[in-house]
């Protein structure tokens, strides 16, 4: 019988070599080791995700990752890293990862509020916790994703945050993941936030690179929210070299009667693939996934989400806004699954894209998979240009075209950011949006379609 050996790309071979070299020193007890081995075996069998895999149809990682960069080694707290940290104006419990490794000396460990415990993921991985495998695995709908498998196999560090039952945090937990960017490196990190019952918190994730070298980043965050909790997760992916490639996974499990919201802003970040896997573990919960993608040049942003309504009475809302110029590509793939017996599910998904000039593309694939009859589910997807009437209205009142466009675009993007409860976080998000629009306006760039 002929044995079929799939041809491996250079990057796949390099990753296999890196895993073989690193696995002895990657942190974790026997259970974690098994998790890594299984994940890597899964990755080996399937290879890097490519466009013939339905869930990666529009982001061909096999082509994008011609070569796997060497794994980042050791914390490089360069001056640029320190300068960037100083420039980040956001109050809260600051936890810093540099090149995927928890940097205690740069973090604000003295300011840990009562009811919150923080450790590095490396420490958590070697702890004797019995629920570790469950926590790390996340929702089952993400189990066969090869991007995530690679993260599981190679995750080196991150932060492991636990918020006790009933604790309400006044200020956000800010996880800053900075790459030093001195050399081209690949980084695998994962963090976890376990929020207890009736807790209330905002978790901010910032992913940036301080230097100029393009990075290959594979990050993941696990969020488990307890019954009756209210958790908001805000992610900022920005300040990356144009050639950088990034996969960011969100693994969220929502308790009963809980509220969970996640928002992500992507701008000036090269190629970014975000994948959200969300599971409802309890009834009567509300969940929202939102995001803004500001794309130009040859940037590529892919938002893929799978929302798994396993139990009745779940509400989900998704809203993604994309503004696409240059030769950039936007991708939205949303899948809402309503399992049998998940009656009274209320789902609404929306993706809106504005294309600014020829060369820009948008691919939408909003899916519904429904096995219960007493549900209300809908989705909408639009692709269009800046509304001429709106521009006319503003220009008739004396605004020059670039300014009028900036105003319309700001309102368009702002709709997805409105729900952010923490004012300082919302302001930070909108200031990034405004800076992107201001740069466009300063170049007197106007829409040409």
């Amino acid at each position: 019988m002929a044995i079929v050996t799939p041809l491996k790309t250079a990057a796949e071979q390099q990753l296999a070599q890196q895993y073989a070299d690193a696995k002895a020193e990657l942190p974790g007890g026997p259970a974690v080791r098994k998790l890594r081995e299984d994940a890597f075996a899964g990755f080996e069998a399937k290879g890097l995700p490519h466009r013939r895999l339905e869930s990666w149809r529009y982001t061909d990682l096999r082509t994008l990752l011609r070569e796997a960069r060497p794994l980042a080694d050791g914390v490089k707290a360069t001056d640029a890293v320190k300068a960037r940290l100083a420039a980040l104006k956001l109050d809260g419990l600051r936890l810093v990862l540099v090149d995927g490794v928890f940097a205690a000396e740069l973090s604000d460990l003295d300011g840990i509020p009562e009811g919150v415990s923080v450790q590095s993921l490396a420490d958590a991985l070697v702890s004797p916790r019995e629920d570790l495998t469950r926590i790390l695995s996340g929702p089952s709908v993400g189990a066969d994703d090869t991007g995530l498998m690679l993260n599981t196999a190679l995750m080196r560090d991150g932060v492991f945050v636990e918020i006790a039952d009933g604790v309400e945090l006044a200020k956000p937990v800010v996880i800053v993941s900075l790459s030093s960017g001195v050399e081209e490196r690949s980084v695998f990190h994962r963090s976890a936030v376990l929020a207890g019952a009736e807790s209330k918190a905002t978790v901010v994730e910032v992913s940036e690179t301080a230097g100029d070298a393009a990075q290959q980043i594979n990050g993941a965050i696990v969020i488990e929210t307890g019954d009756g909790s209210e958790i908001q997760h805000i992610r900022l992916v920005t300040r990356q070299a144009a050639a950088s490639v990034q996969v960011q996974s969100l693994l969220a499990t929502i308790g009963a009667q809980a509220k969970f919201d996640s928002f992500a802003l992507v701008c000036n970040a090269g190629t970014v693939r975000q994948q959200h896997f969300v599971r409802y573990a309890g009834e009567h919960s509300e969940m929202g996934l939102r995001g803004v993608n500001l794309l130009g040049g040859s940037e590529h942003s892919d938002v893929t989400l799978v929302v798994d309504h396993e139990v009745p009475h779940g509400t989900s809302r998704e809203l993604f806004k994309s503004i696409i110029g240059g030769e950039a590509t936007g991708v939205f793939q949303g899948k809402v699954i309503v399992r049998p017996h998940a009656q009274k599910t209320d789902g609404g998904m929306k993706s809106n894209a504005l294309l600014l000039n020829e060369g820009a593309s948008m691919f939408n694939k909003p899916e519904l998979e429904i096995f219960a009859d007493d549900v209300v589910c809908g989705h909408g997807a639009t692709v269009a240009q800046i509304d001429g009437d709106q521009l006319f209205y503003l220009m008739a009142r004396g605004l020059p075209r670039p300014q009028a466009e900036a105003l319309v675009l700001q309102a368009f993007a702002g709709e997805a950011a409105e729900f952010i409860a923490d004012e300082s976080v919302r302001e930070l998000v909108m200031s990034e949006v405004e800076a992107w629009l201001a740069a466009r306006e300063a170049n007197s760039q106007v829409s040409t379609v």
């Binding site: 696409i324 049998p340 017996h341 009656q343 894209a353 294309l355 600014l356 000039n357 020829e358 060369g359 820009a360 593309s361 948008m362 691919f363 939408n364 694939k365 909003p366 899916e367 519904l368 998979e369 429904i370 096995f371 219960a372 009859d373 007493d374 549900v375 209300v376 589910c377 809908g378 989705h379 909408g380 997807a381 639009t382 692709v383 269009a384 240009q385 379609v449």
Partner: protein, 490 residues
């Protein structure tokens, strides 16, 4: 209260628990041995007296088919099909190319009478006002038994005949257009069809002619273990217009039967083709035994400027439906439309939708798809709207709604919306819901029974599509929807 009485009568007049077209006609048939080899292909070609080029074309398709694998991406499950356990050709023995209706086997005529398909021109004239006449091409298993109103159509310059006849009489048109929309190797089933297609309709509307009547083909599978592979080719030359209807039924049998058709439409400058289907193949029994596998490739090519192709389909039959009537919007300013109602009940599986490929400038398309799933059925809408880089000004509106009746069925929506030009405007909306309790309450409170209320609400839900159907079909389609949903309440 007229409407209520009408609904009750409608329910009464139809034998609701039975698939009413499930009878078998006893006719002597001529068929080759089971199985598919080059000899089968040669046999079919020889039986049809085809020219050498046609045989070569078929053999080429057959050789390619052998190298292909069956697609498995659709959301349907069925046991593997044994392609060697099928008959690929079955023709009634009596009256193989009849000169007139008198030469056709009376049993076959009886069948069409039972199905309510008028084959005698005088009967048609007697019953219906002249302006509502419909010309019919009746295909029984593998052959076309009769085509009506040929003379009158010929006067207008319209060619309407079976594809076998067209290969003999109009080889230049067939050579020019056959497989120009659905290439031979487009997909597994289309390639199979190219190798073994037996009959189907051929329509050519010359320049500037508005076809004087509706054209229609009625497909009937009768024989056991027989696959039906029909091929339809419709060409509307510059400025022409044609409305074409298609209907299909099959007897109730325990085994699954394969129906793999290919339909190609070509619209040149300013031409318009309206293609309507009422698909009512045997869906199998309540346990999912038997039924037709309906694996069909339908595609229209808006080749000319300002041309228009419109697909309307009402899908209630078939155990499995795998069908995506599509439009290639090649000509500048061309327009594609797709209106669909897919009703599934029992163990039926439907994976259907459309593709609108915008290639020309200022092309527009509209998709209205309504899926109704009941019983243990699964209904999937799968569609693609894409605008090529040069398709500036492309415009699409899509609306796909699903209605679920009962808690054991599934409804899925998988749309792909791809804009590669920044001047495209695409709108897509989809909803899934069950019949609102308030709607039911409103109807029942006014004296309708639960079942009548469901029928009324469902008819309202699909009205947008029904409106697109020609009159004769709209009535039939409305009845079909009532039958299909029987027993799904509660």
């Amino acid at each position: 209260m007229a409407a209520v009485q009408e609904t009750i009568d409608q329910v009464k007049s139809i034998d609701v628990t039975e698939y009413k077209y499930g009878f078998v006609t006893e006719v002597e048939v001529d068929k080759p041995a089971k199985g598919l080899t080059e000899d089968t292909v040669r046999y079919i070609s020889a039986r049809k007296n085809e020219p050498e080029w046609m045989l070569e074309w078929r053999l080429d398709a057959f050789r390619r088919w052998k190298t292909m694998t069956e697609p498995n991406w659709s959301r349907v499950n069925y046991p593997p099909i044994d392609y060697q356990d099928l008959y690929y050709y079955a023709a009634p023995k009596k009256g193989a190319s009849p000169k007139s209706l008198d030469e056709v086997d009376p049993a076959i005529l009886e069948t069409y009478k039972k199905l309510g398909i008028p084959l005698r021109e005088q009967e048609i004239l007697a019953g219906v006002a002249p302006e509502n006449r419909v010309a019919v091409d009746a295909v029984f298993d593998s052959v076309s038994v009769v085509t009506t109103f040929k003379k009158e159509l010929a006067q207008a310059g319209v060619i309407f005949c079976s594809i076998s006849e067209a290969i003999q009489e109009h080889p230049e048109l067939v050579k020019k257009y056959l497989a120009s929309v659905v290439p031979v190797t487009d997909n597994y089933f289309a390639t199979l069809n190219s190798a073994v297609f037996t009959d189907g309709s051929f329509v050519y509307i010359p320049k500037g002619v508005r076809c004087p009547m509706e054209l229609s083909t009625y497909f009937r599978i009768n024989e056991q273990n027989t696959g039906q592979f029909e091929r339809t080719l419709i060409i509307a030359d510059e400025g022409a217009y044609v409305s074409y209807l298609e209907g299909c039924t099959a007897p109730k049998r325990d085994e699954n039967q394969l129906h793999a058709a290919v339909v190609e439409l070509i619209a040149l400058d300013d031409a318009e083709i309206k293609y309507s289907t009422v698909q009512n193949w045997f869906p199998g029994d309540a346990e999912g035994k038997g039924g037709i596998y309906n694996f069909v490739t339908k595609r229209g090519d808006c080749r000319g400027k300002r041309s228009k192709i419109s697909w309307t389909q009402v899908e209630t039959g078939s155990a499995i439906t795998w069908k995506y009537p599509s439009c290639i919007l090649r000509g500048d300013g061309s327009r594609g439309e797709f209106y669909s109602i897919a009703v599934s009940n029992g163990m039926q599986q439907v994976d259907s939708g459309t593709k609108m490929l915008h290639l020309g400038k200022n092309t527009t398309s509209k998709i209205i798809a309504k899926g109704i799933a009941a019983g243990k059925s699964d209904s999937t809408y799968r569609g693609m709207v894409s605008a090529h880089r040069k398709a500036t000004g492309a415009r699409n509106f899509t609306n796909c709604d699903s209605l679920l009746i009962g808690d054991q069925c599934g409804a899925h929506t998988i749309p792909y919306i791809e804009a590669k030009t920044a001047t495209a405007v695409f709108e897509h909306e989809a909803t899934t819901s069950k019949i609102g309790e308030d709607q039911m309450f409103y109807c029942q409170q006014r004296g309708l029974s639960e079942e009548e209320a469901v029928a009324l609400i469902v008819n309202g839900f699909v009205k947008e599509v029904l409106q697109q159907l020609p009159m004769e079909f709209a009535v039939e389609a409305q009845k079909l929807i009532t039958i299909s949903l029987e027993g799904s309440v509660g």
